[in-house]
């Protein structure tokens, strides 16, 4: 009876995982198809990978996605961290007001944020392009950085910063040597979040970017009208990179801890 139950449980979970992974594996499998068909496997070939690396439009898009994600992450992490630190020191009224407005881009449907920015950029007549895409990405990433960093700053012990300053550290030194090391995990989480959000974004980029500037999502969207196995090849590469990074991120802390001996929880936090 108990054993039977265990099988049912295993079966259900496997089915769910199959549902989640089958499309990804089918995609990866057919990216090696020698024919254009996405349902009949004719034979192994790398031709879609070759055509991917010969496709300047796609390579440009990869460059745009990566560079925007890096810049947006950098800027929104710095801006968000500074703001989170300042917020804990500012007046209650200002703090609640800012945190409320900060929630707006998080709560709003993406499409509403997207068109609000689109209207804004055309209102102040900035030409839509790389710059507007970057600004928009910073605008929707920073709130997430703040929601990650702010709780960490709130937990800080004020005495430590006071002590640092009493002992002669300048505010900047205190920030770098005392405050930042203590909120490191929150900043890292925020930055990671900002990066993936920016890298994956479609809706906002689609509305605020002009002709010629496309990120990966926009290219896929434009190509989705006709089947193109190069997209499969690109998706497979992204899948492999993400799997690699995730596995590294999950298991390296374990390995490091094992070497040091113990304290698994602390390292994972």
């Amino acid at each position: 009876m108990v054993k039977e139950k265990k099988y049912v449980k295993g079966l259900c979970i496997s089915l769910c995982l199959l549902f989640l992974y089958a499309p990804l594996f089918i995609m990866a499998f057919f990216s090696f198809n020698s024919a254009k068909s996405l349902s009949h496997f004719k034979g192994f070939s790398m031709r879609w990978y070759e055509s991917l690396f010969g496709n300047i439009q796609l390579l440009d898009a990869v460059f745009v996605s990566v560079s925007i994600a890096l810049l947006a992450t950098l800027i929104s992490t710095v801006l968000g961290t500074i703001t989170a630190i300042a917020l804990t020191k500012s007046k209650r009224k200002i703090r609640t007001a800012i945190l409320q407005v900060n929630n707006l881009p998080i709560m709003n449907p993406e499409i509403v944020t997207a068109i609000s920015l689109m209207i804004f950029f055309s209102f102040i007549s900035i030409e839509k392009g790389y710059m507007t895409m970057l600004l928009a990405h910073i605008a929707f990433c920073t709130p997430y950085v703040i929601t990650n960093v702010y709780p960490k700053v709130k937990q800080l012990d004020d005495n430590l910063t006071d002590a640092a300053m009493d002992l002669g550290a300048t505010p900047f030194q205190t920030l770098v040597k005392v405050i930042l090391p203590q909120i490191k995990s929150g900043i890292m989480a925020g930055a990671l979040l900002a990066f993936t959000m920016s890298f994956d974004d479609f809706v906002i980029s689609y509305f605020v970017s002009g002709n010629g500037v496309e990120n990966i999502s926009i290219v896929i969207y434009n190509m989705s009208k006709r089947m193109n196995p190069s997209i499969y090849a690109l998706s497979t590469i992204v899948l492999v990179v993400i799997l690699f990074v995730l596995l590294l991120g999950t298991f390296v802390p374990y390995l490091i801890v094992k070497k040091r001996g113990g304290k698994v929880n602390e390292a994972l936090r």
Binding site: C16, L38, S39, V112, I115, L135, F202
Partner: protein, 297 residues
């Protein structure tokens, strides 16, 4: 630490410029129409009255119905799965949760693109059906395809918060209930399910809200003519070029979503007796993406 106080001003300015003004512009466009040559904009409520037309309201209704359907399916699949995962050994749980999280890291368009060929008329499913002699079924560009796409993309966001609330639960409560003579089923409905309600509500928020405003998934799997509220807004801005009407519809959508969120938040607060100190109000809305990263730290 007072020295850092002034550092808040750059972001104040930023929020004002890139959040408040844009939202005000939407409201401005929603309440105006293109006027005569002398006054370029005129105040009007016409855009909202226009939306009251049954044709447009049916688009909104359809989005809500598909949103509810998607959420219901995600819940019916997600709850049992989350429950079963929570019953596994701790190490197995970590791996399973990581496995559930990984697909959410992959670009939504790529994941949806994969479904396009699976569901297409000579796709894998139809070939399978053909080979076992059932004949082909037309699936692409139907409600079915759109719902499958949405369930596929949003299911992890239902499983993860429910799993979190199930594992955070105090085990002694279910033991106590069993000791006091309740059956397994009674214990589940009267204790376990109630205590996991906060996770359920978070899951519902994280599936329902993106589902009603979804616009890429219906466009890719539902075809160009397919219209949900998100597609409708896009058409108004990109193809039709009626920014005033588009803004009015967006404003309606934003209000619906924010009111629903406030309602859910209120219900959640009321039910959330057991672990009320866990989350602040501000964090709640940021959870969606945060849960995604749950496996990293």
């Amino acid at each position: 630490m007072k020295q850092y106080k002034k550092l808040v001003s750059p972001y104040c300015f930023w929020l004002f410029a890139l959040t408040i003004i844009p939202m005000m512009l939407i409201a401005f466009y929603a309440f105006t129409s293109k006027g005569t040559e002398i006054t370029t904009f005129q105040f009007t409520l016409d855009n909202f009255f226009k939306f009251m037309d049954p044709i447009f309201l049916s688009v909104l209704m359809r989005s809500l119905v598909l949103g509810v359907l998607t959420t219901a399916i995600c819940f019916l699949i997600g709850y049992p799965i989350a429950y079963m995962i929570a019953k596994c050994k701790e190490n197995t749980q970590t791996i399973l949760i990581l496995l559930i999280t990984i697909p959410t890291w992959i670009n939504l368009l790529m994941r949806t693109y994969a479904w396009m060929s699976i569901l297409s008329n000579n796709g894998i499913i139809n070939n399978l059906l053909q080979s076992i002699g059932l004949g082909r079924v037309h699936m692409m560009y139907t409600d079915f395809a759109v719902v499958i796409g949405m369930v596929y993309n949003f299911l992890p966001f239902m499983i993860l918060p429910i799993h979190t609330s199930l594992t955070n639960m105090d085990k002694s409560l279910t033991e106590a209930s069993m000791d006091l003579g309740a059956s397994r089923i009674q214990t589940f409905f009267k204790v376990t399910f109630r205590l996991s309600l906060s996770g359920v509500l978070t899951g519902i928020t994280m599936v329902f809200l993106p589902a009603i405003s979804a616009f890429v998934i219906p466009k890719m799997l539902g075809g160009g003519q397919y219209s949900l509220i998100g597609n409708f807004i896009e058409q108004q801005f990109i193809t039709v070029g009626n920014w005033h009407f588009g803004s009015a519809v967006s404003l309606v959508l934003a209000v619906i979503v924010i009111v629903l969120m406030a309602l859910i938040y209120r219900v959640e607060k009321r039910t959330n007796v057991s672990n009320e100190d866990e989350e602040g109000g501000n964090k709640r809305y940021g959870k969606r993406k945060k849960i995604r990263k749950g496996s990293m730290h």
